[in-house]
Amino acid sequence: MNEEKGNLLEISNLHVSVDDTPIIQGLDLVVKFGEIHAIMGRNGSGKSTLANVLMGHPAYEITKGEIYFFGKNLSELSVDERAKAGMFLSFQYPMTIPGVQVGNFLRKSVSAVSGNKISAKEFRTDLKEKMTQLQIDRAFLSRYVNDGFSGGEKKRMEILQMLMLNPKLAILDETDSGLDIDALRLVSEGINLATKNAGCILITHYQRLLDLVKPDIVHIMIDGRIVKTGGADLAIDVENKGYDWLEV
C-alpha cells in the first residue's frame, strides 16, 4: 500500500485549551506507519490532553495548529469518523456502560468500524483467539461494559477492543498504570501484536512498559510542548534522572 510510505499522523504547531486554559502550547509530531512513539512527562504536562484531542473529545478546543491523519484534516472528522478512519484510543479511565454486554458491544463496534457486517461465526472465531491471547475468560462477554471491572480487567478490555478493531493508529493513554507484572506482560503482547502494521503512541510514566514494547522514538513533554526527542535510551535517562534536567 502506498499509504504506508506517507505520514500516518502529522501534528503541526498544535495549541489546545480546556475551559479557556491553554494546555498544549505549540506541539509538533509526525508518526509514520510501523513506528512506536513513547510520550513521557510529568502529570499535567499535557499527555492525556494530546490523546483526547486526537480522538476528538468535545471538551478540548484546538485554538491553533493542524492535525492531519492519513492526509485528512482531523478537525473535519467527528469522533466516530476518526474511529472508522482507523484511530483507536485506549482510555486511561474507560467508561462504564451499564446494561450493555461486552459481547454485543464488541460485535456492534467491529461492524461499525469496519463498515461491513461480518458473519457471527467469523466474529466469534476472531474474538475467541484474541481472548485466549489476553487470557480473558468467556464469562467476560456477558458482563456489562466495564461495570464492576477491576483496574486490570478494564485495561485488558481496552486491549481486547484494540485487537478486535484493528486500528491504523493506536493511542494508549497510560494503559500500563495499575497493572501487575503478569497483566502488564499480556497487555504488552497485545500492543506488540496490534501495532505490527500500524502506528502507535504510547503515553506512559514507566520504563517497565518500554522494556516490553520497544519504542522507536521517545518524546518528553513539559508544559504542553515536546522538549526533547530521542531513541529508547532517552526513556532510561528519564527513569534515572527525572525531568528536572530537561527544563529550560
Binding site: P58, V79, A83, G99, V113
Partner: protein, 470 residues
C-alpha cells in the same frame, strides 16, 4: 439486543400514528349519563347485577373528586363530555383473522399481531375501540380447561366466576377512574387457569384505539387457580390526533395458593392519550405476582401496579420503566401491601426523561402489624438526558411491624459527555451511542420481556433518540 437496526427503518415520527377510516357498527354520542351507562349494559344484554353495579359506579364517579396527586393541571384538562364512551366497529368477535373486517385486519397486520400469534403465542385477543374483534386460543390450552375470553364473553359464559371475582380486587370505590371504568367497561380479557395447569406460551392482548375522542375502558380479570401459572402480555397503541383520547382500564389478578401470574405491558400510546389505569393483584399463600410494566407513550400516565400479599410466603415482583419526552408526564410506580408473614417484594423502577419530559416514581410499601419477617427491596433509578427534563421520586413506607427488612436505593444520573465520547470512539454515531446507553439502562426490564417485545422496545428507543442530540 442482537437485532441490528437499519437506517431506512428509522423514522422520527410515532410509528403507530396511522389511522383507518372510522366505520362504526354502533357508536354512542359524546358524553356520559346514567342513560349511556344503562344503554351500554342493555346493548350487551347483561345480567341485572352488572347493570346495577355499573349505575352505582357511575354515581360514585360523579361525586368522587379528581386525584390530588400526579398532574392536576393535565387531569383537569380531561373533558369528560367530549369523550365517546362506546364504539363498536365489528359485528362480532372472530376466531379467524380472515373474517375480521378488512380495515381492522390491516391495522393489526401492520402491528404484526397475526404474525406474532403464529410464532410464539398461546392465545391472542385483539381489541379495537370498545370490543374485541378477534380472539383465539391454542387448542391444547383449551382442552386443559384454560379459559381465555374477551371480558364480555367471559361474563356471558362464566357468569358465576365473574360475579365472584369482579370488583373483588379493585372495588369501584377505589378511585375516580376505577369507578368510571366499572360504569362503562367494555372488552378486556377474562382468564381462568385451572389447578395445576401451566400455560407456558404467553397469551397476548392487543388494545388499539382508532377513533378520535375515544374512551377505551377495558376490564381484565385473571384468575390462576392453585399451583397454576400464566404469562400474559399486552400492548397498546393509538393514532396521533390533535384531540385527546382516554384509556382507563382496570386489571384484577388473583393468584391462588402456589400459583404464579406474570403480567407484562408495553404501552406505547400516542402523546394525546390519557392513560389512567388501576392494576392490582391479590397473592394467596406462596403465590407470586409479577408486574412487568413499560410506559413509553401517552400524554399523562398515572399507573401504580399493586400487589396485596395476603397469603403467607407470597411474593411480588414489580419491574417498571417509564420514558417521558416533550409534553409527557409519566407518573408511575408501585404499591405493595405486606399483609401476611414471610412475604417478600422486589421493586425496580427505571425512568428516562428527555426534551422537557417528566417522570415521577410514586411508590408505597405497607406492612401490617400481623406480618412478621417480611422483606422488601426497592430500587429507583432515573436517567436525565438533558437539563430541561425532570424526574421526581415519592416513596412512602408505612411499616407497623418491627421485624420488617427494607432496602431502598434511589439514583438520578445523566448521560455523561465522557460516556458518549467513549462509545463514539468505538465507531458509533452520537445517536447510536445515546441509544446504547438508553437501551442499557432499560436492560433489566427488557430482558424480562418476550424476545419480540424486547427487540421492538429497543428499536423504539433508538428511534426516540433521534433528534435528542445537540
Amino acid at each position: 439486543m442482537k437485532e441490528e437496526i437499519k437506517p431506512e427503518e428509522i423514522v422520527s415520527e410515532y410509528k403507530y400514528g396511522f389511522s383507518d377510516a372510522e366505520k362504526a357498527v354502533t357508536k354512542f354520542d359524546k358524553g356520559l349519563s346514567e342513560k349511556v351507562v344503562r344503554d351500554i349494559s342493555e346493548l350487551k344484554n347483561e345480567p341485572k347485577w352488572m347493570t346495577d353495579l355499573r349505575v352505582k359506579a357511575y354515581h360514585h364517579f360523579l361525586k368522587r373528586p379528581m386525584p390530588n396527586w400526579g398532574n392536576n393541571e393535565m387531569l383537569n384538562g380531561i373533558d369528560f363530555d367530549s369523550i365517546i364512551y362506546f364504539l363498536k366497529s365489528s359485528g362480532k368477535t372472530e376466531k379467524d383473522w380472515d373474517e375480521v373486517p378488512e380495515e381492522i385486519k390491516n391495522t393489526f397486520d401492520r402491528l404484526g399481531i397475526p404474525e406474532a400469534e403464529q410464532k410464539w403465542l398461546g392465545g391472542v385477543t385483539a381489541q379495537y375501540e370498545s370490543e374485541a374483534v378477534y380472539h383465539s386460543i391454542r387448542e391444547d390450552l383449551e382442552s386443559q380447561g384454560v379459559i381465555f375470553l374477551d371480558m364480555d364473553s367471559g361474563l356471558k359464559e362464566h357468569e358465576e366466576l365473574v360475579k365472584k371475582y369482579f370488583c373483588s380486587v379493585v372495588p369501584y370505590t377505589d378511585n375516580k377512574f376505577a369507578a368510571l371504568n366499572t360504569a362503562v367497561w367494555s372488552g378486556g380479557s377474562f382468564i381462568y387457569v385451572p389447578k395445576g395447569v401451566h400455560v407456558e406460551m404467553p397469551v397476548q392482548a392487543y388494545f388499539r384505539i382508532n377513533a378520535k375522542n375515544m374512551g377505551q375502558f377495558e376490564r381484565t380479570l385473571i384468575i390462576a387457580d392453585e399451583g397454576s401459572s400464566i404469562n400474559y402480555v399486552e400492548g397498546c397503541t393509538a393514532p396521533t390526533y390533535s384531540t385527546e383520547s382516554l384509556h382507563s382500564a382496570v386489571v384484577e389478578l388473583i393468584a391462588h395458593k402456589d400459583a404464579k401470574i406474570r403480567y407484562s405491558t408495553v404501552q406505547n400510546w400516542s402523546n394525546n392519550v390519557y392513560n389512567l389505569v388501576t392494576k392490582r393483584g391479590v397473592a394467596h399463600e406462596n403465590s407470586t405476582i409479577e408486574w412487568i410494566d413499560g410506559n413509553i407513550g401517552s400524554k399523562l400516565t398515572m399507573k401504580y401496579p399493586a400487589v396485596v400479599l395476603k397469603g403467607k410466603g407470597s411474593h411480588a415482583e414489580i419491574i417498571s420503566v417509564a420514558y417521558a419526552s416533550e409534553g409527557m408526564h409519566q407518573d408511575a410506580g408501585s404499591k405493595i401491601h405486606h399483609l401476611a408473614s414471610n412475604t417478600t417484594s422486589n421493586i425496580l423502577s427505571k425512568s428516562i426523561s428527555k426534551n422537557g419530559g417528566r417522570s415521577s416514581y410514586r411508590g408505597l410499601v405497607q406492612v401490617s402489624k400481623m406480618a412478621d419477617n417480611c422483606k422488601s427491596n426497592v430500587i429507583c433509578d432515573a436517567l436525565l438526558l438533558d437539563e430541561d427534563s425532570q424526574s421526581d421520586t415519592y416513596p412512602t413506607m408505612e411499616v407497623s411491624n418491627p421485624t420488617f427488612d427494607i432496602q431502598h436505593e434511589a439514583s438520578v444520573a445523566k448521560v455523561s459527555e465522557d460516556q458518549l465520547f467513549y462509545l463514539m470512539s468505538r465507531g458509533h454515531s452520537e445517536q447510536e451511542a445515546m441509544g446504547m446507553v438508553v437501551n442499557g439502562f432499560f436492560e433489566p426490564f427488557t430482558r424480562e420481556l418476550p424476545m419480540e417485545y424486547a427487540v421492538e422496545l429497543n428499536r423504539l428507543l433508538e428511534i426516540e433518540m433521534e433528534g435528542s442530540i445537540g
